[in-house]
């Protein structure tokens, strides 16, 4: 076993490996010290535990790929949704001008996110998942094409409701897994930069719904109110939280912060299980 070669290989995918393991020299010395005391058969296990310790708060390459594929699945859902919308403006009833331009802008971003994540996953040595329009049922009918949003591409109100749900869910999905990407450097930065773009989209879609009197919503999420109805409640449950890291935000320091403002001022994450339950009816 050539330990120096292993470190060099790791260094190619993780330039900070020596910071995690102190320095190259002390790493080698430590390894030799350990190796000298161990039988040859035990060396791989000792090596594994040394790296596990260094990466204890950092996702492994496989975990990073898993998280990025999770994000990619959601980006495909959004990208295919808006691609379909852009070719269906007339039947949906999206007004020409600002509204069509906004949906087109969002489409462009979601397609860019798909491409970016595919490249990132391949670059990390993983295999990106692939979806096409045929994999999705935007009526939430699980393939029946007759789910609760059956008129999603013929009714502007329904279309924007589904869009809002996708955007807000996307924001919550990224947030729910950000902590797993701690100390992953560029991977985390990229995920955060996509996350905040999704939040910008969400705010704009919500303004579009408000402007059309489709729902009494603000650019931010108030309590666990959907502004849509019970069909999408799962995407908003938990947003009513007003306690952050043990600190009660409502009325904090006597400054008159209402429970509504307290809930609005922090967006909440969703677990993968919660997100998958939400998007399951949309994926065939």
């Amino acid at each position: 076993m050539n330990f120096e070669n292993i470190l060099s290989e790791i260094e190619k995918v993780d330039p900070e490996v020596y910071e995690r393991l102190d320095t190259r020299r002390s790493t080698l010395k430590r390894f030799k010290d350990i190796a000298g005391k161990l039988s040859l058969a035990a060396i791989p296990m000792a090596l594994g535990s040394m790296f596990n310790k260094a990466y204890s708060q950092t996702a492994t390459g496989a975990q990073v790929v898993d998280i990025l594929n999770y994000a990619l699945t959601l980006e495909y859902l959004e990208a295919e949704f808006y691609k379909r919308a852009v070719t269906s403006f007339a039947t949906i009833g999206v007004p020409a001008g600002a509204a069509q331009m906004a949906i087109t802008t969002i489409r462009d971003h979601e397609v860019a996110h798909v491409n970016f994540l595919r490249t990132a996953i391949s670059g990390a040595g993983g295999t990106p998942v692939t979806f096409t329009a045929a994999n999705f049922d935007f009526t939430a009918g699980n393939g029946s094409m007759a789910g609760p949003f059956a008129n999603v591409f013929t009714n502007y109100n329904t279309f924007l409701a589904v869009a809002q749900t996708f955007e807000d869910t996307g924001v919550r999905a990224y947030k729910g897994r950000a902590a797993e990407l701690v100390r992953t450097g560029d991977v985390l930065s990229a995920a955060l930069r996509i996350h905040s773009v999704e939040a910008r989209h969400a705010a704009h879609i919500r303004l579009m719904r408000k402007a059309n009197n489709f729902g009494d919503v603000k650019p931010w999420i108030t309590g666990n109110q959907t502004g849509i109805g019970a069909a999408v409640q799962a995407s908003y449950n938990g947003e009513e939280n007003t306690v952050q890291a043990g600190v009660q935000i409502t009325g904090i320091n006597g400054l008159g912060i209402t429970a509504e403002a307290a809930s609005e001022s922090f967006d909440e994450g969703l677990t993968p299980a919660q997100v998958l339950a939400i998007v399951d009816p949309f994926i065939i």
Partner: protein, 226 residues
């Protein structure tokens, strides 16, 4: 109902009941923060030291939230001419969100928190919609880029989650402010690049941009850079 007067009272002297819970939960890093009395502007060696490690990054966020909160308090105190009822309501919401963020960091940091910063809004014409909203746009986009850039500097996953909970709200603010300046500019190519990624800035870049609005000298030299 929001009590405007109480929102504007100075933010000092709160017993941090919840701080210990927070610190225990988060496994707080130490990091000595010097509440520098002598504030020598533009001198990295002096001024208010944000501190090091995760504490430094949380103080960095606290500094930005102080700036934003102070700005919106002033906006609501002296509304620009022609402000609509909807704009008043939304800007009041934003003010309250920023105050909530500011107070959260203050309580969470406890004795590690930097003192209140002195702001300088002399470049803002608060009676002008254009001046106010363009400043708001600057602050919100800057805040988004700051949190996006700070994430990789944090070592505690719990802090990262908290930063994530705040940054998306700042992005919602940014989108709203941009849209009422020019509808459809919520995520235009000033802030989102061809790969669909939002703006990202280092603490040094952010503090340079914020510098004209902050009188207090801030020392960022102990912040982590990678």
């Amino acid at each position: 109902m929001t009590n405007k007067a109480s929102l504007e009272k100075p933010t000092d002297g709160l017993p941090s009941v919840s701080r210990r819970k927070f610190l225990a939960f988060a496994g707080a890093s130490s990091g000595l923060v010097l509440a520098g009395a002598a504030c020598r502007k533009n001198n990295d060696a002096g001024g208010v030291d944000l501190g090091s490690g995760d504490t430094g990054i949380l103080n960095y966020a606290y500094a930005l939230e102080q700036l934003e909160a102070a700005f919106y308090i002033q906006v609501l105190n002296s509304p620009y001419s022609g402000i609509t009822a909807m704009e008043t309501a939304m800007l009041r919401d934003i003010r309250d969100h920023e105050i909530a963020h500011r107070e959260f960091f203050k309580n969470a940091l406890g004795s590690n928190a930097i003192p209140g910063l002195e702001v300088d809004f002399s470049a803002v014409n608060f009676s002008s919609r254009d001046s106010v909203l363009s400043t708001a746009k600057t602050f919100e986009d800057l805040g988004v880029s700051a949190y996006n850039g700070a994430g990789r500097l944090l070592t505690n996953p719990a802090f990262l989650t908290l930063a994530g909970k705040i940054v998306s709200v700042e992005a919602r603010h940014a989108a709203y402010i941009r849209d009422i300046i020019s509808n459809g500019s919520f995520a235009n190519n000033e802030v989102v690049d061809a790969m669909g990624l939002d703006v990202i800035r280092t603490p040094a870049q952010v503090m340079a941009a914020a510098d004209p609005f902050i009188k207090t000298s801030i020392n960022i030299s102990n912040l982590p850079t990678s």
